[in-house]
Amino acid sequence: MRALSRIRHLLRNVFAAGAADRELDEEIRHHIALETEEGIRAGLDPGEARRRALLAFGGVARHSEAARDQRGTFLLEELGRDVRLALRGMRRSPSFAAVVILTLALGIGANAAIFSMVDGVLLRPAPFEDPDGLVVVWETDRASGTSHEPASVPDYLDFRRRSETVADLAAILPAERNLGVQGRDPARITVLNATPGTLPMLGVRPLLGRTFAEGDEGAPLALLSEALWRGRFGADPDIAGTSVRVDDVPVTVVGVLSEEADWGIRQILGAADYGRSFADRGASRVDAWLPLNPDPEAFPRQTHPVFLVGRLRAGVEAGAAQNELAAIAADLEETYPENAARGVNVQALREVVVGPVRTPLLLLLAAVGMVLLIACVNVASLLLARGTARSREVAIRSALGGGRARLTRQFLAEGAVYAGVSAAAGVALAVAGIRLLRAAAPADLPAVGRVAIDLRVLAVALAVSALAALLFGLVPAAQAHARDLGERLQGGGERGGTAPRGRRRVRAALVVAELALAVTIATAAGLLVKSFIAVTSVDPGFRAEGVLKAELQLPATRYPRDFSVWPNWPRTLGFNDALLAELSSTPGVQAAALSGPHPLAPGFTNSFLIDGRDPSAPPLPEIPVRPISAGYFVTLGVPVLSGRTFGDDAQPDGPGLAVVNQAAADAFFEGRPVGRRLTFWGSSREIVGVVGNETFHGVDQPAPPAVYVPTTQVPQWNLSVLVRGGDPGALARGVRAAVNGIDPDLAVFGVETLEETLSGSLSRRRFPMLLMTLFAALALTLAIIGVHGVLSYTVEQRRQEMGIRMALGARPRDVIGLVLGEGLRLAALGLALGLLGAWAATRLLAALLFGVQPTDPATFLTVAGLVVAAALAATVAPAVRAARVDPARTLQAQ
């Protein structure tokens, strides 16, 4: 009973404290009024009666306070009051509050965002059952020196049948197809042909319907991705059983897969030496799965179209699988001539997917952690300074009986308010930051769609702020207790005694540390920027400006691919001729060409032989084959270095022709290939010319040797259309019109300028560079704020000293020199430490750099100059203030 009544009172007095106060006042006033009346009745005059009444009552305010003290809500009320006081204090010095909150918020927010990204991409396990048992089985080619090749289908069947260490092996084959839905434009989709056991092996369950089963090989079935199902089919719950057209062939949809089903596919393709299909086109998700029929007749042993993903038998290590499969591969090599020089490379799936991004992400995490450190140091420094400024106030309040506990509680409350506001702002920044990261991240960053702010990160942010609250609270409170009350009251301690100087040294040391960290990050950023600039200035071997690219795929239903009459494919060749004719008569088009892969797509390689070469010489590595139409080199501005290119003389049934690039000429023909012959795909060709190198493996790779062959002799069904002209919009319309004028059912996709393609190919470098630059800017700004803070503090501290100096004849210039000197000293120390640190740390960056050494002196010098300039800028304001010190005033203010 009593407890209930107690709780009731407590609640009332907490939540209706104001009302309770007013009621108490009313009660007391009532009492005094009655006492006054009593006095009047006793014969006193009203004024005297009232005075006596008040006296008898003995000080209204004190009793209100005492009465309130009994209310039992002391603690909570005081806390509320402290919070209100803290907020008022923040309003009074808004710039200080803003700097502290902004600094903390930036530190917390940036870290939360980056950590969320690292967590989503690196730390979370693959969304498959028992993902540690999954491996990718690459084939290797000792002659070409490659180690991440796709495998042949017969090899796949042999591995699957014969391996004991690999319990289950699946084959996947990426492709792009046209998706036709009744009454709508065909869409270009990415497709993964996968053996039916793939999804059960991974442990992926369908969202709707079923996955493939044994016996579904090659059947006209399809599984849709969740994104495709929602985007194109309106999340139709009855989708299973409906029919769609893939490349004009009707297939039945049997189910829908969740968006996690294609985890890692993009990265496997990205890591492959060739056969990357849609990965090269910039697509990163699988839209549909079709059941692959691993038919050795359709995919003979000399072709290598499939990637193999397997599950190790329980308890088996990848190394054991490597050894066993290598032995099987050696056996196959002996049995089949097509497998000459072929081996295997077993790699953990996780390593394939996450390995390439681990270093840059961890570097970014380290950098942002340093930014947080700098932020915390700055805030601590600022609070130390403020603690000094307030020590007088604190002393007075202590002397007036403020009570240590009370003061400490107040400072803690203040710290909590700062930390709370900063945490809230930091979380908001983190959410916005994550959204930005997801938008700006390169498409092939694994699982970037799963990156979201997660509870652990929030918890860490809150923990950091709670810690900050404690520290902020304890620093001024500790200062309040640390020194002699009297000394502080007299301000004697501020006259340049040992304690403030000690504090200044601490702050200076902190600032030097900040500068060092900032210099390290800035150097890393500088190296990345320099690499990026180097990459963008590499000549890709062709002129990208003014060229528009579009892509087509000719479906086999309308453009038969009969290999028995190859290369005589009348429909395909007819289409090529018609399209080129149409394009050349399109206004605005200066030149047009067709090619298989476009100039920034790696395309495929093939083994080849050189006529007249010593047969006992070691086998040649496979060479990239680039099918092109006659106008290709002109359209793309690739120089012809010797001989000629082919034109109308390249007929389907005419003599085989080819052109090689300079790299091929140097690598295989001692620089003089014209007139020699090479053979691949069973036909011999005469080399008629040499052209300049194109960097179709990416501008940051050396240009590979390549052989160009005419599309009239090597017809393609995956075509790139390249047109040079003026306005890209008009060109795009022209291309679409030309294509659909000939074949209205063809989908034209991948339409962009080659400059856009070039820029897109650099996104993997751009992303870490931009982030690192952002962190460097943040770190430097914070460090400079720190320098400014310390110098201002110095000026304040030594104000009297400066006044005395100037009174004794020093000129303002000398005083400025003092301040500048300190600023430069700090900068120099910070720079020295930072450059040393950078020297040691930038080795970690080596893998990310291009055309730049990790210890590139120019970058180090630039960063040094930047830091010195910034430090000088930070000294300006305090120096000016020092110069303005009025000696007379400071001497008087003793």
Binding site: M1, R2, S5, R6, H9, E23, L24, E26, E27, I28, H30, H31, A33, L34, E35, A56, F57, G58, G59, R62, H63, A66, A67, D69, Q70, R71, G72
Partner: protein
């Protein structure tokens, strides 16, 4: 902060409870009742009255509500609760024991 009080804190509580036995009363009235009942010997320090009233309220021995005084003014009236009555009896008993003990000491040789 200690204050000079004419009535010891412990006994003030008991006297207030006793003063409310006849019926509900406001703060001033309570101090009047005590003064009159003691023939003006006990002067309730009015500064300790209200803290005591709040203390007793917090402990649940008395409760209050706003009402209208004889003069027509709004005032807060306090009244004893059941537990308060029992508490008063207990305190009276304790007081007798205390007084008896003090007397015994004073009369010992």
């Amino acid at each position: 902060m200690g204050e000079r009080t004419d009535v010891l804190q412990g006994t003030l509580d008991m006297l207030i409870l006793k003063a409310l036995t006849p019926g509900p009363m406001h703060g001033w009235g309570v101090s009047r009742r005590i003064q009159e009942a003691s023939s003006d010997v006990l002067q309730v320090n009015q500064g300790s009255l209200y803290p005591a009233l709040h203390r007793l309220q917090y402990a649940g021995w008395i409760e209050s509500e706003w009402g209208v005084s004889e003069a027509g003014r709004r005032a807060r009236f306090y009244h004893l609760t059941g537990p308060g009555r029992r508490r008063l009896e207990k305190e009276k008993e304790e007081w007798r024991v205390y007084v008896g003990a003090v007397e015994a000491v004073l009369h010992a040789t």
